[in-house]
C-alpha cells in the first residue's frame, strides 16, 4: 500500500506540481490538485507506464481521487 501510494504521490507531485502534503488519499485531481482533463489523461498514461498496466478509457473516467488510483492499481497488479 505505502509503496504504491509513494510512487503515485511522486508522479502526481511531479506531473501536477502539487505540494506533497496536499496529495492525500482523499484529494481530487481536478478539485484539490488543480488538474485539467488533459492533465488527468497524462497522469493515467504515466501511471500505466510506471505500474506496467493498461487502464481502459472507461475505468480512467471513473478515477477522480488519489485513493481511487491507489485502489485501482492494487487490484490490477
Amino acid at each position: 500500500m505505502s509503496d504504491v501510494l509513494d510512487r503515485v504521490k511522486r508522479i502526481v507531485v511531479d506531473r501536477l506540481g502539487a505540494d506533497e502534503a496536499e496529495v492525500t488519499l482523499e484529494a481530487s485531481f481536478k478539485d484539490d490538485l488543480g488538474a485539467d482533463s488533459l492533465d488527468v489523461v497524462e497522469l493515467v498514461m504515466e501511471l500505466e507506464d510506471e505500474f506496467d498496466l493498461e487502464i481502459s478509457d472507461e475505468d480512467a473516467e471513473k478515477i477522480t481521487t488519489v485513493g481511487e488510483v491507489v485502489n485501482y492499481i492494487q487490484s490490477h497488479t
Partner: protein, 249 residues
C-alpha cells in the same frame, strides 16, 4: 532546399501518389525520415520509398486504411518501434465518390467521410499519446478549397473537407498547451490524378476562378507542409492556409 527537418520522423498518409507523394519527397529533401502510407498501390509506394532513400534518409512503405482506427494505431506503433519517436503526421489520404445529392448513395457518402474525415480523426488520436509524451509534435491536415467554397456533385467530399478544418481547430485547442501544433492546408486545384479526371469544360471554367490563372503543382502544396512542420511555424496552430492560386480570399 535547406535541411530544416534533419533527424525528424514523419508519417504521410496517402503518400504513394499525387499531393501526398510530393509531401513525402519534400519532407525527405528537408532531411526527415518518412513512413509512406498507401491504401492499395504497393508498387507506387515502393517507388516513392526508393526515391526518398536516394535522398539519404530512411523510409518505408506501410499499407493501412486510414478510416480504420486499429490499422492507423498499428501504423503509428510501427513508426515508434522503428524510430523511437514521431514528430510529424501529415493527414493527406483522400478519395472522391462524386454524385449529385439526389443520386448519391449512402455508401458513397459514408466511404468519403470515413477516409477523408474519420481518417484524420484516427490519425490525430493515434499520435496524441506519443506526442503528449514528447511534449512536441506537428500535425498537418490536408483539407480543400472546396471545403470552404462547396461544389456541385461533391457534397460528401465538401462535408468531409469542411469537417477537417473544424477538427484541426478543436485538436489545436486540446493539444496546444503540450507543444503540439495542428494546422491545415486547403489546396486549390492541383495537377494530380484526381483533377485529371475532370472534363476540359470544367477545367476551363475553373481556370476563370483562379487569379493566378493556372492549376497548382503538388510541390507547391508540399513546400507549405515543410514550412508548417518546421520551426518557422512554431507559433501557428489551428490555422488553415489557403494554397489555391487565390481562389478563396
Amino acid at each position: 532546399m535547406s535541411k530544416i527537418l534533419v533527424g525528424q520522423n514523419a508519417l504521410v498518409t496517402g503518400a504513394s501518389r499525387g499531393i501526398g507523394r510530393s509531401i513525402a519527397l519534400a519532407l525527405a529533401e528537408a532531411g526527415a525520415n518518412v513512413a509512406v502510407n498507401y491504401a492499395g498501390n504497393e508498387a507506387a509506394a515502393a517507388q516513392v520509398v526508393s526515391e526518398i532513400e536516394a535522398l539519404g534518409v530512411k523510409a518505408y512503405a506501410v499499407k493501412a486504411h486510414v478510416g480504420n482506427s486499429g490499422q492507423f494505431d498499428e501504423m503509428v506503433k510501427g513508426a515508434l518501434d522503428a524510430w523511437g519517436r514521431l514528430d510529424i503526421l501529415v493527414n493527406n489520404a483522400g478519395i472522391t465518390r462524386d454524385n449529385l445529392i439526389m443520386r448519391m448513395k449512402e455508401e458513397e457518402f459514408d466511404d468519403v467521410i470515413e477516409t477523408n474525415l474519420k481518417g484524420v480523426f484516427n490519425g490525430i488520436k493515434a499520435v496524441t499519446r506519443p506526442m503528449l509524451k514528447q511534449r512536441s509534435g506537428r500535425i498537418i491536415n490536408i483539407s480543400s478549397v472546396l471545403g470552404v467554397l462547396g461544389n456541385v456533385g461533391q457534397a460528401n467530399y465538401v462535408a468531409a473537407k469542411a469537417g477537417v478544418i473544424g477538427l484541426t481547430k478543436s485538436s489545436a485547442r486540446e493539444l496546444g498547451s503540450r507543444g503540439i501544433t495542428v494546422n491545415c492546408i486547403a489546396p486549390g486545384f492541383i495537377e494530380t490524378d484526381m483533377t485529371d479526371q475532370l472534363s476540359d469544360e470544367l477545367r476551363q471554367g475553373m481556370l476563370g476562378n483562379i487569379p493566378l490563372a493556372r492549376l497548382g503543382q503538388p510541390e507547391e502544396i508540399a513546400q507549405v507542409v515543410v514550412f508548417l512542420a518546421s520551426n518557422s511555424a512554431s507559433y501557428m496552430t489551428g490555422q488553415t492556409l489557403h494554397v489555391d492560386g487565390g481562389m478563396y480570399m
